[in-house]
Amino acid sequence: MTLRVLVAVDGSLPSGRALGHVIDLVRAGAGLEIHILNVQIPVESGHVRMFVTPEEIDGWYRDEGIAELEPSRIALDAAGIGYTQHIAVGHLVETICRYAAEQAFDILVMGTRGRRGLGGALMGSVARGVLAATTIPLTLVK
């Protein structure tokens, strides 16, 4: 049986480790269908839409997303594992959770810096937000 896995990545070191963990699982024989997802924070306001076409804005999201997906693509290609890539736009926590639930994934995987204290409170908290909000099984990789 094949499980559909969604790996949320942003090109950072922790998301690289999360993907490495998934690659390890595949090498150990797990039947996984891998999807990598990058979420872009929406940048357009009414003002921005006045001066830039929606196609330009989407093109920007695509470029930024492709760049943030790049390390994951390289790792998966090097491991010879097939995958599908996605870019979505929205509030980070909400979009990751909704994407995983609406596309009926079996497992959600993402990295976390695992920071404590102020640094963790400020930056490392997307994983914590997803942990609180997700409705499907979640693996956090530190």
């Binding site: 009414g46 001066f51 830039v52 890539q85 870019i87």
Partner: protein, 242 residues
Amino acid sequence: MEFLFDGGFWLSVLQIIAIDILLGGDNAVVIALACRRLPEHQRNRGIFWGVIGAIGLRIVLIYFALHLLALPFLKIVGGLLLLWIGVKLLLPEGEDEHGRIEGGTTLFSAVRTVVIADAVMSLDNVIAVAAAAKGDIALVIFGIVVSIPVIVWGSRFVLRLMDRFPVVIVLGGALLGWIAGGMLVGDVVWHDRIAARLPHAALVAGLAGAALVVFVGRWLSGRMTARSAPLREIPLDGHGDG
């Protein structure tokens, strides 16, 4: 140099920086988008001249705004506008605005887009900064210069901060309401009469303005977000933009 030790001076500087960051995110996005299609070696020059043009224009606009605000009734008008700007900051984005200028692929057209966009977009910013500066052009320039690096290079961080902590936006709205309140009672038309009856008028009006913006903003946005938007996915394969 004694102004450096004045608490009121630094409070005004902090307010101006906060306004520039909160209301300047738009500009950073337009600059990035307008220069996106430029060839690599021209992109940084486009960003540089776009920023220079936008900031010069803004200082000129604020200079005029400072002088206009000394006229009767204009602080009342400005205060009311600022209350509306504060409420608008708290509202989710609508789909209503159209009629755009093309980004273009030459250095000149990119810079032109940035400057024109800034002239249109900085109205809210100009009113807020002029009010916070209380007539001091040096303060305006100082605040703008300090916030340039944040707007140009830190927009990603600001976006992330707002994504993680939506309360930042509420605080920004409250700040604008606070400035608006002080501005309303500070108009020359009634400033002396109010000051005679209410010793702490600016404080009271500021608190009332902040509370009003947050209350109205939350109430309106609560009504607007009732329907949930579909998830937005950007297609990767086809070259959709044609």
